[in-house]
Symmetry: C2
Subunit: 278 residues, 2 copies
């Protein structure tokens, strides 16, 4: 299927892709190459604080599609669970101040020593439900992101678009909650095209990176689009068929390669890949 080339106004690069930079350096690097959209990485925000971050973004003309990651609400201890909810309310406030459409929200994994996925999913759902009023109040969407099954235990007890859809059905708050789809997490799903169609207007974000054949790490060894096994343009095409025309958000976690490169080279490589691999 032919997909039109991605245009610069639809390219977003997640700040975490330049983990080697501090907050300011990453935003300046995007701006220098004409990249006008990012998703802010929460830990990076802590480096300069909110007001300085907002100033940097404004000065550089870079807008924020989302704050990442929120959620992590599967703690079994009521105290820990409550603290997680409180933290998320603060993160939602930060997202609002950044002008972000969404907070990308992951459920969290299994607490230490636990094996009950179903109970952890119930707690995550309860957490989402508790965040809905505050998300509405500040006007920031909860973009629920299923992660790859290989991080089911430690990062997300929902693993497929179907899992996330089921949780959103139960949450019943489509005005303020939707989906973030990451090609890295779902590319292997044989029903991907149908699942995307079923998700339809719930899809708020599309993250893209690539799966390397020689992946060595379960979290931090993602590839540059075009270097691996994921047909990102095909997935984007499927999403456009169902009416998604948001940005393609490049999000690469890469300990051994891209986080060691010169930031300008990373951004130039992404721009080079826009035509054929995004």
């Amino acid at each position: 299927m032919a997909v039109s080339a991605l245009t610069l106004d639809r390219l977003c690069i997640h700040q975490v892709t330049l983990m080697q930079c501090d907050f300011r350096a990453s935003i300046e690097c995007f701006s220098r190459h004409g990249v006008r959209r990012t998703a802010v990485w929460r830990d990076k925000l802590d480096e300069f604080g909110l007001s300085e971050a907002v100033r940097i973004l404004k000065d550089q003309g870079v807008s924020v599609d989302a704050l990442c990651p929120g959620g992590l609400m599967t703690a079994e201890s009521p105290t820990d669970f409550r603290e997680a909810i409180d933290r998320n309310r603060i993160w939602l406030d930060l997202a609002a101040e950044l002008g972000a459409q969404s907070m990308v929200t992951i459920t969290g994994g299994l607490p230490d020593g636990h094996t009950d996925l179903s109970a952890a999913r119930q707690r995550a759902l309860k957490g989402l439900a508790e965040l809905v009023p505050h998300a509405r109040a500040v006007g920031v969407k909860l973009a629920l992101e299923p992660l790859h099954p290989m991080v089911c235990g430690v990062r997300s007890v929902i693993s497929t678009i179907g899992d996330a859809m089921e949780m959103l059905d139960e949450l019943d708050a489509d005005d303020i909650a939707g989906l973030a789809i990451d090609s890295y997490a779902v590319w292997w799903d044989r029903n991907l095209q149908a699942e995307l169609a079923r998700a339809g207007s719930r899809i708020l974000h599309f993250h893209a990176s690539d799966w390397l054949p020689d992946t060595e790490d379960l979290r931090f060894d993602r590839g540059m689009p075009g270097d691996g096994m994921i047909n990102n343009p095909q997935i984007r095409g499927w999403m456009e068929q169902i009416g998604f025309h948001g940005p393609v958000e490049v999000e690469i976690f890469s300990h051994k390669n891209w986080w060691k490169q010169a930031p300008d080279d990373v951004v130039l490589k992404i721009l080079e890949r826009m035509e054929r691999s995004l």
Copy 2:
């Protein structure tokens, strides 16, 4: 859900769990501890050759539930594909000589540089279909095993019980083809209980190991049942509810831990875990 303790006659330990041993030493170790069932690892068979292997098994009173792994039939080049089929016919002959019920069959991943999962799945299905007559002739079942989505690219283009069921539906040879279910591959699936029920009598094998919270490797860092996040007794319970009463086959790939231990210690640890974690 209460599950009865696993009994020794239903315990099978895959030979690969003792990768540190040669063919003879692993079988002798099983026998020494009263373990009477194994699944032979194909590479280990090469060490002594078939007739010596059969003699060792007979002398030690260890029977063979399966030969692992067969399949790997996703090559795009017609020559490579043909060679894969020829190799599998030989492996089926070996499995028959070993008295194995099945050859555990994995599809293989994506060929180098390819991104078309659907085409690779079609080739794997074609491969299975070509093996059916020979499998029938030698009386060895094709036990199709979905692997974890994290090895989709390199080992198996089918990742869920649903994927495997769809392939078996198309193959339409339930007399000679069925499923091998590995808890390590499918534990994260929220529909697991329902999928097992749907698979029903197609299930020929149940492999068990555990998912470690700090997993460092995509293939060779499996845990001892009881050390991780998988509720193996619950999964066995679900399988028994639908009439599966075959052995529990412990299959642990563990570069950094169990493959470095004394083989007797590994087997003793498995026996110790039979009561609560298998």
